[in-house]
Symmetry: C2
Subunit: 220 residues, 2 copies
Amino acid sequence: MKEHRNISIADQIFDQLEREILSGKYQRGEVLSELRLSKEMDVSRTPIREALLRLEQENILKETGRGMEVIGISSEDMLDMYDIRLHLEGEAARRAAGNITEEQLQELLELTELQRYYINKQGNRSSEHTKNLDTQFHELIYTASGSKTYIDVLTRIHKQMTKYRMASVSKQSRALQSNDEHMAIYQALAAHDPDAAEQAVLTHIRNALNRMEHMEPIDS
Amino acid sequence: MKEHRNISIADQIFDQLEREILSGKYQRGEVLSELRLSKEMDVSRTPIREALLRLEQENILKETGRGMEVIGISSEDMLDMYDIRLHLEGEAARRAAGNITEEQLQELLELTELQRYYINKQGNRSSEHTKNLDTQFHELIYTASGSKTYIDVLTRIHKQMTKYRMASVSKQSRALQSNDEHMAIYQALAAHDPDAAEQAVLTHIRNALNRMEHMEPIDS
DNA sequence: AGCACTATAATTGTATACATTCATACAGAG
DNA sequence: CTCTGTATGAATGTATACAATTATAGTGCT
């Protein structure tokens, strides 16, 4: 089953810009101009414009009248997003427990183990890898829920949260705790136990919220 | 306080297309071509393309490889959306009960009474008016919740549901029951009672779900 | 020195031209 | 009659040209 659409330049630019914004290359408040980006990337304004438009719809950029500004997410917004995840992600996990395939379970386990490896390694971009793996872990569970609507809503929210979390440092001990929780989620899903999966996910989100509230944002 | 952005042609086309799709002018499965639309509306492809792109991001259109197809929402998707609303809209109502202004309450009451008028009138476009007022009613409550995140998530979902609901006929008796429930929600909000507001909203959604499951889709 | 006005530069919004892909229909051969 | 190949048309994707708005800096006047 092949995709019916080739990867366009606009798609690639969208992915690239999203990565660069979420990873902090473009700081909060910075204004991106179409012309500047098109010169930097050596393409015309058209695909750049398309990519910026999509990023605006994802609440990652905001139109200001003279360019697209990298959105700042307030800590209040962040709390709301955790709140919504607490209301939705347990149900998504319940569904995933019933639907997840052996192949998906295998991938979930690999993501978890790889994340642990990077946390222990403590290398240069280790923190970035750790967070990317966290995103892949949760989005895989959303996918396994089998519900297009749940996938859409939760993926959008998780992306926005990533942008905020990227701008913070986290201690190794907390990262290890989070990784343990991922393993617990994996085991509940591997046992196809909806109740256990729901509880493991809710515990993980509550703890993540707690960890965030005790984190110091970096200056940069 | 004026907006910093003028209403562009692309914005207008986006609004117009969304209305036309949600109201059923373009049927599910129909493919919209940029060139055709640009001729019909006598503008260039550029703003058309931008509008279609935004509609795609709202899950109202889908890229097919040879045009944008009007998305069909399955009854399964519809159930998921009700499910998510049951998980989120109670909390939004709780918050609204605390934040809603007198002016918003006044508007809520007017929307409710106007809706009752149209239901009783049973005119030509009465059903369309009724549903538009329903949308305005719920979106006003989302706004009153004061949370950008709740507003975004719930508004998106409610829009998609509207598209489905527009394609169904509903009996006058059920419309009146729904309107009664709106009035109950209004009264709970007017009393600034979070518990009552949550319960009234949850009851309304459960009943709406029930009403939908007993509805006959029109053929057209 | 300060203020106002003008000119310029930068930016988005829109139109249009060009490239490319893909489906479809038609014609010709077997 | 069927299959295949080609040509044509329609659609998107991209580049570029043009219009209009706005911020900013500079200059001249008081």
